[in-house]
Amino acid sequence: MDFSSFLIQALNSVQYGFLLFLVASGLTLIFGIMGIINLAHGAFYMLGAYLAFWLAGLTGSLLAAVLLGVPLMILIGIAIERSAISFLYERDHLYQVLLTYGLILILNETQLILWGTGFYSVPIPEMFRGSIPLTENQVYPVYRLFISAVCLGVALGLYLMIQKTQLGMTIRAGASSREMTEALGINIARVFAIVFALGAALAGFSGMIGAPLSSVYPGMGDQILIISFVVVVIGGIGSVKGAFVGAMLIGLADTFGKVLLPEVASIVIYAVMALVLLWRPRGLFGYTA
């Protein structure tokens, strides 16, 4: 591989890593802070993509679709947390797995009823339709770079929120000791509802801004769920910083794995996960108990 194609593949890796981070960040928040294994995370991603398709069709603009769709995802998140998830905090993980697996089935079926089985696409917003020439015959779409910038912004925003704000402090406190935080007079139920809604909104948001690239079709959330779990486990459960590093690592492993080791491309990311876990069983940035 010559140097220029190495650089292009590195760009592909980073760009893919950003996308993965955006999806995985919501999963790691819910997983780490609330202790909930949310298998429906991929379904939220799919729901976001369908909302983008539907709302962009109604309003004619992806921006408007995102502005309408994200609050909708927050509402859906709160509704699901209050009506279902909140009853299982004290229960074993197995109950949560069963419940959120049920949610996948319900959300997938809802999608089939509302939008049918067709394949749809969402147009790239006018102002990001250009592309930048890379080599003689390859160009890079501006929209992909824009998504990377958005993901970077979300990463920064999440970091600041968790590290620097009152809400972030409460969330961190609730994660490390639920009882103690409650004893200090903090309404932990409300905090958990916020975190779950935030996680759902992040998944939905990545589905929305990813929709013009990925196209919109039934079952699109399943694949993304698996790879999100890989990212979260590598990074350390509950660590947003870990999710970022994990996403970059998987982006690199996946991209270069496909190019350099095509015969085993499908297992490269799992091999990376296994190696990381052998070295650090709790993930790169996992809490050491």
């Binding site: 089939l112 079709y217 079952g219 491309a265």
Partner: protein, 405 residues
Amino acid sequence: MKKHNPNGISRRTLLTGAAAAGGIAAVSSFIPTRFAIGGQHKVKIGILLPYSGTYAMLGNSITNALKLRIEENGGMLGGREVEYVAIDSEMSVPKTPTNTNKLVGKEKVDFLIGPVHSGIAQAMAKIVGGDQGPIMIVPNAGSNLVTGPLCAPNIFRASFSNWQPAWPCGEVMANDGHKKIVTITWGYAAGKQMMAAGRDNFAEHGGSSIKDILVPFPDVEFQAHLSEIANLDPDAVFAFFSGGGAVKFVKDYAAAGLKDNIPLYGPGFLTEGVSKAQGAAAEGIKTTLHYAANLDNAANKRFRAAYKEAFDADANVFSVQGYDTGSLLISAMDAVEGDTGATGDLIQTLEAAQLTDSPRGAWTMSKAHNPIQDIYLRQVENGVNLVKGVAAAALEDPAAGCKMA
């Protein structure tokens, strides 16, 4: 004997209804006759197709058109009413033995229709192939093995073998003056078989493939491979993807700027049923397939109009395959006057089948029980796959390894 078991039939009916797009119609057509007294048994048709996930569209298209064809025949097969038992295959190979046995062993279906997925087709063929199983008609899955080493007297195909839509494309690329290509497809049975067929025929016409890229199924992250293709700079790219993967690949290919420099070819599934979602990215792509929307024959026009009216959706190659499956059932059951026990006669009729009024054009059954059919050259214009000619006339699958051929 019709058993009046509310827990059995009505629940299954509901499941069928939930699964199939025309579910409501199915439920209402069932319920009144459940209590009908006397008369013959209904012909029981077991269906194993995907009704959820990425390929739900294919399962629905096939089921809709199959029922449409039988409705056109007065809802009867050989003078008997029809009962459908549909199971969602969930595109799961591991669940296939259970699902197949449920239809064959428990439901004792007279005919087995399915599947979409090549791996499932191979698993089903291993279970039902032979003298004991019911007659199975494959309405999509193209695995070469099903009408090759796994071929059996009671297994028929109304669709294509993976070899068929891919092979002529090799010649098309060579005729367009290309010398070196890159192939790219998902690394699963259908992908590998189509890639091999297209590449082999391209080689026979003096070209060569400089790289065969296998993307892990069902991965849709193509960016790394697109950069690789740009770097290799071939004359053309031969690609097989379908469904959501086809939409994304074609769009990514155009977005990476490759479309204008390196033309894209492939088996027709690359643009079939998805060209609207692909939009401008699909314009000009040449593919080969056994069907195209604008085929100029009366049967096609009639079928497309009827399908549109019944389901408010455009017919595609999958619905054509479902429709022809219905035609096969009708001709076979007419020949035996509804006697599903006359397996030998049923098989003989199906082997001699001549579908002269199929929407895809006339076709006949090969000795290996696979359609001998024309493969058309199509090109996407304004979002529609338009016929540009016949890429291979009356193409017969080589059926390597089939003892009947």
